[in-house]
Amino acid sequence: MLARALYPPKNHLIHHPTTPVGIETPVGIESIGASCRLILNASFWVRLCAGVIAVTLMPGCHTRSDGAAEITSSGLSGRLTVTGSSTLAPLVVEIAKRFEQLNPGVRIDVQTGGTGKGIADVRSGVADIGMASRPLKGNETDLNAYKIAADGVSLIVHESNPVQELTQRQVVGIYTGKIDNWLQCGGRDQSIQVVHKAEGRATLEVFLKHFQIDNPDVKADVIVGDNQHGIKTVAGAVGALGYVSIGTAEVEAATGTPIRLLPVGGIAATTAKVASGEFPMSRPLNLVTIDLANPLVRTFVEFCQSEEVHDQVVAQYFVPIKK
């Protein structure tokens, strides 16, 4: 429940809600007098206290009555801590919610902090399961990765852009500032706006690794946060080139947003091609553990890999894994 509150659904554009600063209208003498009377008024205090008490007791209404003897199919109980990749967190939060419903004795806490933190936490024992939005590296062989979904990264351009495909060399040239007009890539005479992602984003790492670009060499015109921000930026600038998660882009393009997904290495950018493993710019989304000795950890990992959660994987715009 806590985890649910922390992670809004992924398709929301905004991850950081900011409360608008309220405007304090300066109070005149009359209204100060009025508020004095209000404060001195006994019934005001009664109402205030009642409000405070109500708010204090509120959480009690929401807590599940764990005491009630519930019959669980598995008989599992206990608490799991999952930390790591923020790409993966919204999906795992959804899956955890369903898992908690099926096993009322189980409580799963999902926290983020990046793939690196997930791996460090599993090693130190702080977390039972880590989330990693990349394959394990050579120095991480002490851990086991369990793929629960896949994600592809695709280049996107504005719908009106006549360019059908870019070569590896052209993409590198555009992102490092050596090519700045679509004319040089067989397009119209139109300057190119390079849409890049903020440092630390997982899609950025996949993109840079695939095209072998060093991040400090990138000459960007716009740096965006999440995929939706990238898509809206490209949709609003006819000369833009960007890269985003395929699942999100596919849905947006299908619902009329003026963007087009470019193929990479001759392979069309579709979730189907990611699922079949043909699409080159893709990555696994993994759960990471030391071992599966704990039955609760094993059951949860198996649940995440099962077909029961495929609808949730698709709802988060990722590609489910077919066994």
Partner: protein, 290 residues
Amino acid sequence: MTKWSLSTLSRLKSDWLFTVVTRSSACVAAAIVFLVVAFLISESIPAIRQIGVGRFITDASWHPLSDQFNLTPMIVASLTITLGAILIAAPLGISAAIYCQFYAPTAIAVWYRRLIELLSGIPSVVFGLWGLVVLAPIVARLGGSGQSILTASLVLGLMILPTVALTTQAALRSVPGEWLAGGAALGFCRSSTIRRIALPAARRGILGGLLLALARAMGETMAVLMLAGNVVEMPDSIVAPARTLTANIALEMGYATAGHRSVLFVSGLFLIAIVAVSVSLAGFGGAVDE
């Protein structure tokens, strides 16, 4: 006699209660500021100790994962975008307040004021979305991607306009009616009364409102993040992209691990320092005026 002293007693008691409540509320408000600053400092210390304050200004660029930590372009961007927003909001807001207070018929003034209050209630995300989908493509015709200092300043200007308009109107309303009547008696026309009497008398209130607006503009994150382009480079024109300190924190915090995270807290500390400096500068300006 007895009756009199009883009522005095109860009055003293309610006075005492009122003092305690207001005093403790004031303490809580002050303590929160100190707690937040203390938290920022404690989170920044690892980075400052390891990197040193100087490198946040002298490094070649901002690439925290490649050990480059130059915050200067973001400080410049924060200041430029805020200045742009104030330049847009101040004339519009002050004129709107003057119109509303002195020229508009009562019925229109009431509804106009409500409209301005509604404007202040629009969430920044909605402003950002509108700017991204509607305004950015228009600004893009001037060159670039449309996400630029200009776009961010325009939208931010609209966002702080209600603050300026409402505080200015409140300040104008508190100018004593006799002064205005005195102006009329001297044969001033309405515009002279406003320029010579109302505005000078309300100056402190208007300045305070501008300051509130400035602090809000400096701290605004979401709309600026969506509209400014976020490239960390020294901006060379108003249609160039730029990244503010707030956008930097919002963009990278979710993904930052230990060292990088601490560096982001340093940019928060810089932001607070800039706001503190501008607030005290404005206060100083006000004091000199007295």
